[in-house]
């Protein structure tokens, strides 16, 4: 795959290996390759979106070793050896949409969808820690992500609905 930023002759390359959504992936990149661009351009995982590239919008949020981070504020080389989960890894193991993804669909938590990958990763990680948020807590959980379309009401509803769907899944789960 071709790199997006042209690499000058003086720039040395670093071999970076990440386990992305459970699969080991490697590429040779210059040190200045942002983790967001590494995922999108070098690995072809274009689910991670890039809005502002300075940490403010949250569209690029991915999980590194289970914690949310802004992939636009990291260099891929810093994370050599890490486990990364992108929005592509948020679906259920059987290929069906996750509770969070279904909730966003049901509650119209997206319009253009540009911000959605960042919301899905953020809300997935949040509900792992806080399975039963109040409406105020749901609103607080998404303050770090910007959406230019929805006005947020339906995103808050999606967070609450996702929590409910996850509770139902747990109750149905055998054992």
């Amino acid at each position: 795959m071709t790199a997006m930023t042209p690499t000058g002759p003086a720039e040395s390359l670093h071999e970076v290996t990440l386990t992305v959504n459970g699969v080991p992936r490697s590429a040779s990149v210059p040190a200045r390759r942002l983790l967001s661009d590494f995922l999108r351009h070098d690995l072809g995982l274009t689910g991670t979106h890039v809005g502002c590239e300075h940490g403010v919008c949250g569209a690029c949020t991915v999980l590194v070793d289970g914690e949310t981070i802004r992939s636009c504020l990291q260099f891929a080389v810093m994370h050599d050896g890490a486990e990364v989960t992108t929005v592509e890894g948020c679906a259920r193991g059987d290929g069906e949409l996750s509770a969070v993804q279904r909730a966003f669909g049901e509650c119209h938590g997206l319009q253009c969808g540009f911000c959605t990958p960042g919301f899905v990763t953020t809300v997935t990680a949040y509900l792992d820690q806080h399975p039963d948020p109040s409406e105020a807590e749901a609103r607080e959980a998404i303050t770090g992500n910007l959406c230019r379309c929805t006005g947020y009401q339906n995103i808050v509803a999606s967070v609450l609905r996702a929590a409910q769907l996850r509770r139902e899944e747990r109750e149905e789960a055998p054992g």
Partner: protein
């Protein structure tokens, strides 16, 4: 935008890191959490030739409450994330002010990566951590090839985003002293959105005598000028029992003392008014906090 090219270094020890900083001096920048540096690189407001990544220096990944001659101190190493300091139960029990301020530093996602020492080194006039260090009279430890020195909070931040740390020095640790005796604290802010840099932020720390009188009261303010502003409120609040302290007088003192600037977020006049209002609010919060801590102690 994309950052310009740089040579990437990932030392495994402090000795190697300071050797790199010694070799490359002003051409090099320390890369900690990247939450302030990478935006500057992406916008090409900075283009250092070398980045020294300190994230994998294990000896810097420490957060602990240590005993010293003068009492206790919370020590935070340069690789420790905001979120680790925020959630450490021993740190919170010893020095609740840290969590009170840290929850207002950006969003959890930023705190997962940003370091407390990086926040100090960045010295943003809107940053909470330099103000907390100043309020507590803490210090930072810096190391270069030539040795180690301690910089007191009062000598640390010298201007907006400038500190007395030299280009060949690495900040290895910050020390936040635990104020002795009965204390209470609170941190309050007004920001455009939850998690944004504060238009005005105020922390108040009070020390209370056994007869419930305020022995000492101090405020630290962010976004009120180029460096954190610390104001001694002890005389203003009076030696009254702590629930009758004169926070209106404290607010007047602070309003008269601060010299904020206009910017796109707020006028100087609005900021000055906020400084007073939030000082009174934080003062009352600190009293409530001291009272709750006393009750919690009584129950034990």
């Amino acid at each position: 935008m994309k950052p310009s090219g740089f040579a990437y270094h990932r030392p495994g020890t402090v000795a190697d890191a300071v050797a790199l900083l010694g070799e490359h001096g002003p051409e090099a920048k320390v890369l900690a959490g990247g939450q302030s540096l990478v935006p500057l690189l992406n916008m090409r407001l900075a283009a250092p030739a070398h980045l020294v990544d300190v994230n994998r220096i294990d000896e810097l990944d420490v957060v602990r409450v240590a005993s010293v001659d003068a009492g206790q101190v919370v020590r935070v190493g340069a690789a420790a994330r905001h979120s680790r300091v925020e959630h450490d139960p021993l740190v919170h029990a010893a020095l609740p002010l840290l969590r009170q301020a840290l929850v207002l530093v950006a969003h959890p996602t930023i705190r997962h990566r940003g370091t407390t020492v990086g926040s100090l080194a960045h010295a943003d006039p809107a940053g909470e951590m330099p103000a907390v260090l100043a309020l507590l009279g803490g210090s930072v430890t810096v190391r270069s090839q030539h040795g180690q020195r301690e910089i007191r909070a009062a000598d640390f931040v010298t201007g907006p985003m400038t500190t007395s740390v030299r280009a060949d020095e690495l900040v290895t640790e910050a020390s936040f002293p635990v104020p002795p005796g009965r204390t209470g604290s609170a941190w309050v802010e007004v920001a455009r959105r939850a998690g944004d840099y504060a238009v005005c932020g105020v922390g108040v720390l009070i020390a209370v005598d056994d007869d419930d009188r305020i022995r000492q009261a101090r405020a630290a303010l962010v976004s009120m000028g180029p460096v954190p502003v610390v104001v001694d409120l002890t005389d203003a609040v009076g030696a009254a029992p702590f629930d009758q302290a004169d926070w209106a007088a404290a607010a007047r003192l602070v309003t008269a003392r601060v010299e904020p600037d206009d910017d796109i977020h707020a006028t100087a006049a609005y900021r000055r008014q906020l400084a007073g209002v939030l000082t009174a609010r934080a003062g009352r919060g600190a009293v409530d906090h001291a009272a709750t801590r006393a009750e919690a102690r009584a129950r034990r």
